[in-house]
Each structure stands twice: as structure tokens, then as C-alpha cells.
Subunit: 347 residues, 4 copies
Amino acid sequence: MADEVIKQRKLEHINVALAQSIAVAQPANWSDIHFVHQALPEVNLDEIDTRVTFFGQTLRYPLLISSMTGGHPDVISINRNLARAAEEYGIAMGVGSQRAAIINPAVSYSYAVVRECAPNAFLIANIGAPQLIEQAQHPAFSMQQVQDAIKMIEANALAVHMNSLQEAAQPEGDRRAVGEVEALKRLTQQIDRPVIAKETGAGICQEQAMLLRACGVAAIDVGGAGGSSMSAVEAARSELHGDKKTLEIGKLYSDWGIPTPIAIVEAQAAHLPLIATGGVRSGLDVARALALGANLVGMAFPFLRAASESYERVCEVLENTIREMKVAMQLSGAANIAQLHTADVVV
Amino acid sequence: MADEVIKQRKLEHINVALAQSIAVAQPANWSDIHFVHQALPEVNLDEIDTRVTFFGQTLRYPLLISSMTGGHPDVISINRNLARAAEEYGIAMGVGSQRAAIINPAVSYSYAVVRECAPNAFLIANIGAPQLIEQAQHPAFSMQQVQDAIKMIEANALAVHMNSLQEAAQPEGDRRAVGEVEALKRLTQQIDRPVIAKETGAGICQEQAMLLRACGVAAIDVGGAGGSSMSAVEAARSELHGDKKTLEIGKLYSDWGIPTPIAIVEAQAAHLPLIATGGVRSGLDVARALALGANLVGMAFPFLRAASESYERVCEVLENTIREMKVAMQLSGAANIAQLHTADVVV
Amino acid sequence: MADEVIKQRKLEHINVALAQSIAVAQPANWSDIHFVHQALPEVNLDEIDTRVTFFGQTLRYPLLISSMTGGHPDVISINRNLARAAEEYGIAMGVGSQRAAIINPAVSYSYAVVRECAPNAFLIANIGAPQLIEQAQHPAFSMQQVQDAIKMIEANALAVHMNSLQEAAQPEGDRRAVGEVEALKRLTQQIDRPVIAKETGAGICQEQAMLLRACGVAAIDVGGAGGSSMSAVEAARSELHGDKKTLEIGKLYSDWGIPTPIAIVEAQAAHLPLIATGGVRSGLDVARALALGANLVGMAFPFLRAASESYERVCEVLENTIREMKVAMQLSGAANIAQLHTADVVV
Amino acid sequence: MADEVIKQRKLEHINVALAQSIAVAQPANWSDIHFVHQALPEVNLDEIDTRVTFFGQTLRYPLLISSMTGGHPDVISINRNLARAAEEYGIAMGVGSQRAAIINPAVSYSYAVVRECAPNAFLIANIGAPQLIEQAQHPAFSMQQVQDAIKMIEANALAVHMNSLQEAAQPEGDRRAVGEVEALKRLTQQIDRPVIAKETGAGICQEQAMLLRACGVAAIDVGGAGGSSMSAVEAARSELHGDKKTLEIGKLYSDWGIPTPIAIVEAQAAHLPLIATGGVRSGLDVARALALGANLVGMAFPFLRAASESYERVCEVLENTIREMKVAMQLSGAANIAQLHTADVVV
Ligand SMILES: Cc1cc2nc3c(=O)[nH]c(=O)nc-3n(C[C@H](O)[C@H](O)[C@H](O)COP(=O)(O)O)c2cc1C
Ligand SMILES: Cc1cc2nc3c(=O)[nH]c(=O)nc-3n(C[C@H](O)[C@H](O)[C@H](O)COP(=O)(O)O)c2cc1C
Ligand SMILES: Cc1cc2nc3c(=O)[nH]c(=O)nc-3n(C[C@H](O)[C@H](O)[C@H](O)COP(=O)(O)O)c2cc1C
Ligand SMILES: Cc1cc2nc3c(=O)[nH]c(=O)nc-3n(C[C@H](O)[C@H](O)[C@H](O)COP(=O)(O)O)c2cc1C
């Protein structure tokens, strides 16, 4: 039964995200961050070098298709469209939480399709921190189950998503968090892939970045507030199911959290590779995130909307994003990503 | 006659509050106060300890149903619904100003019903500071009358409300204030219950907090601006009665006062237990008030609206508030109220 | 001819002011100034002492009916209504620019009526600084003419208004200003009444306050921006007359100048008695101006509107203003104007 | 073919500018800059001295008709109307990019008409920095071609416009920028006229001002953001041509850049004569730019709109601008431009 519930939930997440307004404006946001224009930039637009190295692998662009889906036959085409584009553009991609397939191997292909379509891309497996510990309704995942998730997509890295807010806003959510720190420490010691600690919309502060470093994670995805809100997604689901209690939580907390730009700056304290996800909506935003200190920039919703249409739409989103990012780089005098990291920005 | 006037006024207050918009937005308000999200909170949502001790009694939640009503047969059911909920949830409750019953013992039961329905709750009696001194139209209350008020509900504490603004906006208001300080000093020396000095919507600044401490009060309810405005309530009454003079005062002064969040911070100078009332509208606001330094958090209007419908609605408000408060506690890493007091907040 | 033009202009000023929107909101305004509420004020509302002494005369309230009109038979009733109220309430009153009567004695009575109706009030004569020097179209006023103006209303003081902006926005305006400083110095030496330097909507900065003091003026009316704008008045007149050139100036410059609250603070550098005029619209604003440092507070437009209706309406405006001012005084703990000067305000 | 394309583009620029909204509001803008009013200004409005000296030539007003057009027979009348006014009022004028005529001498007269109509005015030739280097589709201009451009209008100075943003937003835009610095250095050494480095809407920061000085330029036109946006112009053109790629760039980047007031302050670091262009819309804005440190103030769009109607409309714009500027000068106590440079402004 539980596996069917999770499978169903996965589909609802996608449908809700596509049908409703799940983005929440934040007081501090991307448009507050201004580059200092360089009138004589000494950079040729068509010769900008956008490559980055991420855990030993060279990506053609500092871009990540953030963890979103899998777990239901209906989402296979979405993951296929995303993966083909990741392969084509030489960027990174994450899959959605693999809990559905860990519990119900019948849906594994909805994840595995990603590696099938993207044999060379940097792929990131995905499990939830709340599932690393024993919960009221289910035991903790075993180390073997985590390994299986990685193997399912021959992942280059594993993202452990932290989503206490989402769980609290879910009628059936996991409500325990004690022990996650210890479980994460064990995980990073026993898994032979880099572990990325990933927030899902509420951001990372300086103290938590230091804590995650102490847990041995290899990178942090700050997953800040200002873009898709999992709390808003759950509120929409609660509305659907007529669950007033979690509906209230989902709505009240939909603007909770640390805005992504601030989270990038805070998380730098840990001196780990940083991924910036949350509310990135153009190549200009990508450039802003990189200038603030991110190493890779993720987008979820814009890719989801495109992938639900076609592979070509995903490529179009990528083309636009890359073109826009390059203009920001030229005008701020950055011929490559390393120079962009040191570009002047004014808040 | 005076007793009938007061009795009638009590009913009008309730009716106006239920029918009109009496809340006034303030420049500094609850939504400006942000918790710092803890991605790995190490707190289990269902095991959060929300208990507090208030003057030796343990409350299950740091919540107070603020002083509102009594003095008219029609409000008995409201006080009954509130009191039953206070008993059920183990929280504190205040009654409205007992002046009506002190002058006209016939309406005593509208207050006494509260103790009848809440034999174990922490109950707070209520009289006005302006009635502690001689006014143009009536003498000061005697110490015996104050004792009677306490006895009327077998109160655990006595709140002395300070409401000069409301009196100024009332056609029949008490316009003297000289001598209140001395009267309050005498009162705290002679009454064998803790005396709580309570503002009613205009807040407490640092200097006044120190003055109240010098008067010997045992706690302060900062009663700040930003929620129900007694000035707006009186403006609505003046409109009803066609009294243009006080109508203008009521309207002009409806945003007068120190916003509740600021008042909490200011009043801390006195190092007394603090109650935060004024504009608290969710469990998230409750958590914010506690993080800023309050020991107990009061709500008036949300409980009034619910109690005018049914006991069940009051319970629902409480359930929502508690659920919302716990989410804020978990996500800011506070397993109990003491830890919430030290949680990081950003303004 | 010139006298007819001026006479006509005087009437237009009044008609425009009554018919059009001539008030201009400013970035810094009265509502940004907050008193610190005193929960236990120790002040009796009905015993507040609102008296002030101004150049040796005791006024019952720190209020001034600002210089507005005279110069046309049609405005006699306005000045009569204002003067009766000034006498009744024991406050100060100014008349409008007396240039019209200096040039054309036939209209003197429209000013003299003020002293007739207010035998005991503190009255302020009014001439313009630009008329103290030779202009393209007319010579400077002689000292005798200024004396005549004072005598016309048996004035207690003389206001010299500074209105370069208004002149620039007037088709027929006086465009010279060189020599006004010297002329003002001469005037203050030769006139046996206190001379008040009065801006008319653009305010006084610190440097100009010091300059005015060096000119020997006895008091400053800061006449700041934020209330009636003479520039807007002239724009409306230019529209009427189809003069596009000055219309543009009038519109472009209608928010020029130093807001009244800021001007009060700036002008204090001169250590002279200060009058605050410009945008004062309630007794709460009056109290704010006094708390910021003004000694007398003037209003023009609210009195004009009332006086164009009846004497009773003027009294009503005064009653409201006084009542509102007293509430602010009580709630900020000021039993008299001296205490109000030291009340805490937060900007 | 290329020459026809450029010729056509020139006409489109003008038509788009006249038909569409191409101005973009900026966070920091002119209306945030306030003069400190001087109540006794000691300046006669009609005797204000507005003359300035610019590269040895005396201009009657510190005004510049900014570089805009040429290159198509249809724009000859526009340039004629502008030039006649420049001559009449003794101000400076620039022509639009002369690239069209350099490539296609047949359209030279559309530029040369300017000197024909303005034999004594200070005229500024105009070429683009991107054309100083080799681009994918065309070689760099030779020194001879640049000399020809100057000779074409017997220019007093040469403006080299920097417009990387515009090029990036143009389907057919020049996408290289490497080498512009060296090319500019060579140019300033070999040309016998003062070279003005001119941004076209994205502004100059302190570092770039220093770099331009090192390149040997004689003056800087800060061309800041806040007025006409070449990015918005190109977006409108892309819309016309159905080019979605550059349309997105044009729209996304239409508010990119340093606002003009900030650019003036930043560029002062270079201690060179400064021209302020970008969003100046009244004589009050002109005065603000001068007070902030500009030596000459340019307007483009307001003159374009007027010149597309008639010579008389251009004169009217100039008359209004001058009148408005003088009022600001009088009221801030500045009898000439040197005094205006030292006037107090508050931001
Ligand atoms: C429909 C949907 C499903 C998601 N599922 C997951 C998930 O399973 N695991 C995860 O780590 N993040 C998940 N996320 C969060 C995204 O990875 C990302 O952090 C978030 O959407 C913010 O990015 P955006 O504003 O670009 O959408 C999901 C987001 C959406 C919209
Ligand atoms: C209808 C009504 C009646 C009230 N009566 C009293 C009272 O008698 N005594 C008192 O101390 N406060 C009284 N209050 C003030 C409340 O206790 C509380 O301080 C105020 O309403 C702000 O809280 P809120 O914004 O949650 O409503 C009353 C408030 C309302 C709305
Ligand atoms: C119709 C009208 C006429 C005025 N005439 C004069 C005048 O003759 N002399 C003067 O010093 N001020 C004059 N003033 C300015 C006022 O005294 C006052 O400074 C200004 O109106 C701002 O105050 P308010 O906002 O309360 O109207 C006039 C104002 C108005 C509205
Ligand atoms: C239609 C149009 C054409 C322009 N062409 C040129 C040009 O060829 N060379 C140049 O240096 N600037 C050019 N500009 C930029 C202007 O000189 C000026 O920097 C810009 O428009 C900002 O000023 P404004 O806000 O007053 O319009 C052009 C502007 C417009 C509106």
C-alpha cells in the first residue's frame, strides 16, 4: 500500500507543479543583485569558456537539471526529455527522490531511463534525509537500499535532500528528524560516491553549512527560498485531498526560509563546492548565482514545464539560458567561469 | 444608571469587534521577523515539549486567551466556550474588565462561569487602572472591591489594564490618569495575587517597563499595537452613537502605539515575566513572540470570533495554533520553549 | 493697473486653493513621526495646560492661523471669520500679503477687519521679501509703506515672506532676489516690531536659518514642503490663463523644498523662536511639530476651507485640533507645552 | 548589401524610438536627488550666467543634443532641425554613428547637413568601439576612415560609443570586444581631435573611468541607465523581425547598467570632463547632473521626438529646459554653472 501511496504522490507533485502557482516571491531576490557594467569588456561573446569541473568531470556549462521526478510510469517521458538534453549539452542532472523505487522496484525504470538516455552525463541519485532514520510508519533505509538507488542510475553522486518543512506540510509526512545528523555521518563514510546535502526550498544558514561539513558531505545544494515552494506544492495537494490541517501549514509556511542568494553567501563558510537552486529563472540569474559564489546552478520548475512538452522545448530553455548567461559574462568582463566568480556585484 | 451604561458598553464592544474591521496594520509587524531555518533540525515534530511554568503553575502551552468579556448575560456563552477550551488545553485565560460586576453584582455570573468551566486553569481577573483613582464621574475602587473581583473567578492573578487611549476615545471615558502610579503601588502591596500590568493595544516602552517594575507588578502584558485597536472599537461605537468628537479621536489614533514585537524587546529591560498580546494571528506569530522574549502569548480577537460560534471552533483555533507553532519550533531546531527563547531570528 | 492685477490675483489664489488639489505629499512627512506611548501617563486629559508665551503675549494654544488673504472685497468675510475665532480662542493670526493694500489703499479694510474682530489677538502683518528690493516692474517698498502695513492691522509682529519659487512660477512674478539680505537687515533695524522670516512652502535649511539670524529676525516660520504648495497654486492659475511656460515650472517644482518636519530640526540651529507651517492637518501633527522643536504651529488651508463656510466651521476645526493635540499630550505624558517639547519621538 | 542593412537599421532605430516605449525606470533616479532650498537666494533669475567652456569653445548653455541619427535620406530633416537649434542656442550636438556613411558614402549628406546648418556649433562625430576591431563579418575601420568621419561634419571632437549590450541584443550584432582597449589607445594617439568615450545606456563605473583615462580619452560621456535603452530598442526591432533569441536578450537586459546619477559620481575618479546622458528629462534634471559633477548634459530622446516634428518644437524643448534649469539654479543660490557645481544636494 505504502508504495502505491508514494507512487501516486509523485505524480501529484508533478501535476500540481504544472497546474498551479507554486513559486513564492521573497524579500531578497535575484533582481536585487546587480553586476557592475564594464563598458570595454575585452571579452568576445562567442569565445566565452563556460566549462566547469565538478567532482573530476568536465561539464560544458555550470548547469544542473535539479532533482524532480521518477516513481510513476507517467513521468518516464519527462525524465527522458531531461536526460537527452543533459547528455546533449554536457550538463548535470538529478533524479527525483528514489524512495518510490526503493520500496517498489517495479517503478525503477522511470529513474533508470535517465542513465539510458544520458550515458555520459553527471547524474545525481536522490534520497531523503528523513528516510535515513526510523520513522513512525517505516524503518530507516538500509545502506544496501541506498547503494541500490545509486546503482539504479549509475549515479556520479548522491543527493540527500533535507525537507522537514515539506514533511510537516504533508498529511502523511515523516515527522521525525532526530538522528539525521548521525545517519548522514554514517552515510558519507560508507558510500563511495560524493554525497551532496540538498535543501529543497528553505535554504542553508552558516551554522548548518558547518554542520553539514562536519557530517562529511562533499558539496551543498543550498536549495533556497524564492522559487518553487514544496510547502506550496503540499498546500495544493492538501486542498485536493481536503486536508485542512496541512493546508494551513502549507500556506502559512510557503514563504519560510532563507532566500537563495543569501543562502549562497551563508553556505560559503563551509568551503565546499556549492550548488545554487531555488528561483533561478534566466541565464542572468545563473550568472548572479555564480558571481555570488555558487559552483553549479540548478533549475527545477523551468525544466519540468519544458520537459512536459518535448525534448525540443528543454533544449530551447537551455539555449536561452546559455545565451543570457554569456551576455552577463561578457558585460561584466568575465571570459570564463573563474573570472565570473570574481566579478563585481552590487546588492 | 452607570451600571446599565457599562453593561450595555460591554455588549457593544463585542458586537463591534465581531462586525467591523478593528485590526490596524503597523509599520513593524510579525511578518518582518524571520527564523533562521535549520535544514537538519534534530527535533521530532511530535515530541516537542510545549510546556511552560507561569507563577508556579504548569501550562501545557505558552498560550493565553486574552481578557475580553463579561458583564452582560449575552456574553456568558462566549466566556463558557473559552473557559472550557482553556481547561481542556491547559492554558491560561483572562476575563474582561470586571467593573460591570463590581458595580452591578447581578452580572457576576457572566464572569464566574469561567471558573465554573475551568476549575484547573490559570485564570486572570481584570480591572482598569483608571478605576483605581477617583474620576470625575465615580470614586476609586476600594481594595475590597478589587478583592471581590479576584474572588469572583477565584483568579490566579490580577491584570490591571492600562487604556488611557481608549478612555480618551470614549464619549463617557475616564479622563484622569494622575495618581495611577501610586494606586498601582498600593495595590501590588496589598493584594495576595501576582499583579500583571496590561496594556490594551498601545504597547510598553522601556521606561514604562521600568516604572511598572518599580510599582511592584509581577509581570507585564505588553499589549502592543498591530492587532485589535480599542481606539478603532471606540470609533465604531462613536459612529453608532453619532458622537463626532470621539469618532475623530478614535480614527486619528487607531494606529497609535508601539508595535507588539518592538514592545516585547523594549519591556525586557524590566526583567519580569512578559506576556505578548496584540496582533498575534498564527502559531508562527506565537513562536516569533516567544523567540523575541515573551513567556506567554495572548490572543483576543481570534478567540472571540471562534467563541461566538462554538466551543468546537475555539478548539480548532487552538489546534491550528499549536500545530503551526510546533512546525516553527522544529524548523528552527527548538525541542522545547527554553530552546525557542534562544532561537536565531532576523528582523 | 498693477493694483487691479494684484487685487485680482489675491482672489484667484483663494479660489484656486478652494477648488483644486494644491497639497503635495512629501517623502518625509508627519505620519513618520511617532510618539513613544506612556502607558501610565500621570496626566489628566482635562487639566492639560496648553498656554504658551509668544513675544511677551500669552496665547491660550500654541496655534497660528497662517497668513493667507486680504486685498479683495470678496475675502473680507473669510478674514472676519478667522479673526473672530482667533479672538475667541486666544491664538495668533496672520493676514495675507498686504502689497495689494499698500498699492491700493481702497482695499485696506479687507485686512483691517482682522484687528476690528480680534482686538486682543496676536496679529501678524505680512509683506514679501521680493518687494523689499527694486524689481523690473516696480520700486522697493519704502520703510513708510511697511510701517503703514503694520499700522493697518495694529500688528504685534511683521512676517516677511520668502517666496522665490512662487515668483518664478508666476507669469508676472518678481524675478530678482539680489539684495534681499541687505534689505531684511535694514528692516529689522528700523521696525519696532518683531520681524518673522517666513517661508511659504519650500522650507528653511540650517545655513539659511543662520543667515536669517544674522539679518536680525526675531523668529522663523519654517514654512516647509508637504502641505499647500504655492507652486501648485500658480500652476493652476497658469492653466487658467493659458500660460504654458509658467505652468510647466509650477508643475515641475510643486514638490520642491524641505519637508516641514526636517525644516524644524534644521532651523533649530539658529536658536530663535520657531513657527512650523506646512501640511499640519490635525492636532496630532501639531503635537509632533511641538515635540520636534516648534514654538507655534500654523495651519493655512484647513482654516481657509472652514472660513469660506462660516465662523462656526472655523471654531469646529479649532475644537478638533485642540482635542486631538491634548490626547497626544496625555498619552506622551506631557501636562504642558514645555513637557511636550521634551517628549520622546521616534522617526 | 551590408551597407543597405545598416542604412535600413538606422531608420528602424528612429522609428522604433518614436513609436515605442524605450525608456526604462531605474532604482536610482533623478527624482531621488534633492537640492537644498535657499530661502534668500541672492540670485536674479534673469541674470543667471549659464555659459560653459568645452574644449576651448564657449557654449551658451551646458547642453548637448546627444548622438542619434544619420545614415538614411529620411532622417536628414531630423538632423537639420537639431543642427539649426544647436546653432541658434550655442550648444553642442553629436551625430549618430557614421558607420553607414563610412561604408556607403552615398548617405554622407545625412550627416554633413549638420555642419551645413550649424557652422559655429560644437559638433561631435561618432563611431562605435566594436568597429575599431576586426569582427566576424567585417574588418576594423582604418585610421583614414575615422578621419573621414570627422571631416564629414568638420567635427570638433570624436565620440567613440561603447555599446556591447546593444550589439549582443542585435541579431546581426558585432560580438567581439577583445582589442577595443588597444584600438582606442591607438586612436587617441593618432587623431588630432579630442576623443570622447561614450556609453550608450549602461553607464561607466570607477574602474572603467580609470581605464578610459589610461586609453588617453579627453572626456567621458557616462551614458547611464534610466533613459532610452538601446536594449529595449533592439528588443522592439527583434519583435519586428520575429527574432525570438535576441528579443529575449533585449527584454531581459533592458534595465542592465549603472544609473546615470551614480555613473556621474563614479566616473569623477578619472578627473576628466564629464558628459551626463541618459534619462535627463527636464532642466531640473540638467541642474541635478551638473550639481553631481557633470560638465555638459546630453539628451537624446526628447530632442528626437521634437525634431521629428519641426525646428520650432526643438526650440521649445530648449526654452523649457533652460527656464527650468535657471529656476533650480536660483533656488539653490547658484548664479553661474561654477556655483551650481558646488550646490548642496541630498540623495
Ligand atoms: C515537482 C517537483 C518535485 C520535486 N521533487 C524533488 C525531489 O524528489 N527531491 C529533491 O531533492 N528535490 C525535489 N524538488 C525540489 C527541486 O529540486 C528544487 O530544489 C526546487 O524546485 C527549487 O528550484 P526551482 O525554483 O528552480 O523550481 C522538486 C521540485 C518540484 C517542483
Ligand atoms: C472586544 C474586546 C474587548 C476587550 N476587552 C478588554 C478588557 O476588558 N480588558 C483588557 O485588559 N483588555 C481587553 N481587550 C484587549 C485584549 O485583551 C487585547 O489586548 C487586544 O484585543 C489585542 O489582542 P488581539 O489583537 O489578539 O485582539 C479587549 C479586546 C477586544 C477585541
Ligand atoms: C490661498 C493661499 C494664500 C496664501 N497667501 C500667503 C501670503 O499672502 N503670505 C504668506 O506669507 N503666505 C501665504 N500663504 C502660505 C501659507 O501661509 C502657508 O505657509 C502654506 O499654505 C502652508 O500651510 P498649509 O499646508 O497649512 O496650507 C498662502 C497660502 C494659501 C493656501
Ligand atoms: C534612436 C536612437 C539612436 C541612437 N543612436 C546612437 C548612436 O548612433 N551613437 C551613440 O553614441 N548613441 C546613440 N544613441 C544613444 C543616445 O546618444 C543616448 O546615449 C541615449 O539615448 C540616452 O539618452 P536619452 O535617455 O536622453 O535618450 C541613440 C539613441 C536613440 C534613442
